[in-house]
């Protein structure tokens, strides 16, 4: 049926049939002998908010530079709107709004001068939206960019990124170093644009609590490899924390493999028993598990994206549980 609600951009996996706006096709980036990322493949479909997560040094920045055509990958292809990012970047970037990791603009320019400068680069430019947003963020109009606070700089760059009504928004850890109030302002503004235009976005961030309800799909980079690439609902559906006490009994004299069916990504031995995060959750298997000899008081709880990320990224050998 036809949706009565304008902002109902696709959340289901069926949306992935549409041609991706952004695509990383087996991208590898090497610097001399060190590898920043290796054979990374994922794509961002229209209407998706793709959260690319990873610890510092996991390879996010190199990957984002390749995707935006600012760097040529050592192997593989980056594609924007179906065209090679590196060769078509000049035209493609007219349709992309970027908020970079480091707020970067000529320090002597005021926000309005900056807007004036940017409008010439974009065929579609909504100047009114810039002044509206600057007012809302209370960014002083006569203060040069270099003297604004970190939070104000980010707001200015978000206003610039949204002004050309971009088909794709790339936010590269936009709230890094912002205080909690400035962070909330930033995400609210982003949510407003999602509501108004159903914007497609790639977001890298350490602000996992904020992205929790916003992301529709999640990728996790770990030491240059993409170990997770799936819809939020699917991801949350297959992860659980399982806690139980393990007791030796007459028939059970050792433990060690009872979690195998669940593909544990992290197992901690606590005073009271076992605390595990598993990546292959199955309710009926768990019903049998809790009745196993020597397993007592087993309980399973669902996890937030943040908890899943910590379990995956924090383990020395943790992988997506699928290898």
């Amino acid at each position: 049926m036809i949706s009565a609600f304008a902002a109902s951009s696709p959340l289901s996996s069926s949306s992935r049939i549409a041609a991706p706006l952004l695509e990383s096709d087996a991208i590898t980036v090497r610097y001399g002998r060190s590898i920043a990322c290796e054979a990374v493949s994922f794509s961002v479909a229209p209407g998706e908010v793709y959260a690319l997560l990873g610890r510092n040094g996991a390879g996010k920045s190199s990957l984002v530079r390749c995707l935006l055509g600012q760097q040529n990958p050592s192997a593989g292809r980056a594609r924007l709107f179906g065209g090679d990012s590196w060769t078509t970047r000049v035209r493609a970037l007219e349709r992309v709004g970027v908020v970079p990791e480091e707020p970067d603009a000529p320090p002597e320019m005021t926000a309005l001068r900056l807007a004036d400068f940017c409008r010439r680069l974009y065929p579609r430019w909504d100047g009114a939206s810039v002044t509206r947003r600057l007012d809302r963020f209370e960014v002083p109009r006569d203060v040069p960019f270099g003297r604004l606070s970190k939070g104000q700089k980010c707001q200015v760059l978000l206003a610039m990124a949204l002004a050309p009504s971009p088909d794709l928004l790339v936010l590269d850890d936009p709230t890094l170093g912002l205080d909690v109030v400035a962070r909330e302002f930033f995400w609210e503004e982003f949510l407003g644009d999602l509501a108004d235009r159903g914007t497609t976005a790639l977001v890298t961030t350490h602000d996992l609590a904020a992205i929790e309800g916003i992301a529709t799909r999640v990728g996790v980079l770990k030491m240059g490899r993409l170990i997770v690439d799936e819809d939020v609902e699917t991801l949350k559906g297959r992860f659980r924390r399982i806690r139980y006490a393990n007791r030796m009994t007459e028939t059970r004299t050792e433990f060690g493999n009872e979690l195998d069916a669940f593909d544990a990504v992290r197992v901690r031995v606590r005073g009271w028993g076992i605390d595990a995060v598993v990546s292959n959750w199955d309710e009926s298997v768990f019903e049998r598990f809790r009745l196993m000899d020597g397993v007592e008081g087993a309980e399973a709880t669902a996890l937030s994206i943040e908890e899943i990320f910590v379990a995956l990224a924090g383990e020395a050998d943790g992988n997506g549980g699928r290898t």
Binding site: M1, F5, A7, P10, L11, A195, E212, I214, A302, S304
Partner: protein, 133 residues
């Protein structure tokens, strides 16, 4: 929005939490018939979730006749919001039963004892209703 809380560590998806939360608010008359509900944009900002997630919940609520969309005006609680559907009722009870069974098991109460406690609670409920008459 008051009375609507999300749990990101829940097994239930966010759109479904919004859907259920709104149903509860309507069923308990916190949102009486004819009340305007927040716009998708406002509720998304309020809950800090993707507007598409709110839209998905609203779409279900509209499909089930709980919300009515008046073009250009807004979204309202339907005048005769239908009672909770049978499938929904069963699911709610099944979820609560799982929680109860798990609690009983964890404190070492047998299935029989747990069942008789439930029956006793049910009887007390009946008495309480009788008292009110």
């Amino acid at each position: 929005m008051r009375g609507l809380r999300l749990d990101f560590s829940s097994a239930s998806p966010i759109w479904s939490q919004i859907d259920e939360g709104m149903r509860r608010l309507v069923a308990s008359q916190v949102l009486p018939a004819g009340t305007a509900v927040p716009s998708i944009r406002d509720l998304a900002g309020d809950l800090q979730v993707n507007p598409a997630t709110v839209a998905k919940a609203y779409q279900r609520l509209a499909d089930d006749g709980i919300l009515i969309v008046r073009r250009g005006e807004g979204t309202y609680v339907a005048d005769a919001a239908p009672a909770i559907r049978r499938a929904e009722r069963i699911r709610l009870v099944r979820d609560a039963a799982s929680r109860y069974a798990s609690l009983a098991a964890s404190v070492g109460v047998s299935a029989d004892d747990a069942a008789s406690e439930l029956a006793a609670a049910w009887r007390r409920l009946g008495n309480a209703k009788g008292d009110r008459r």
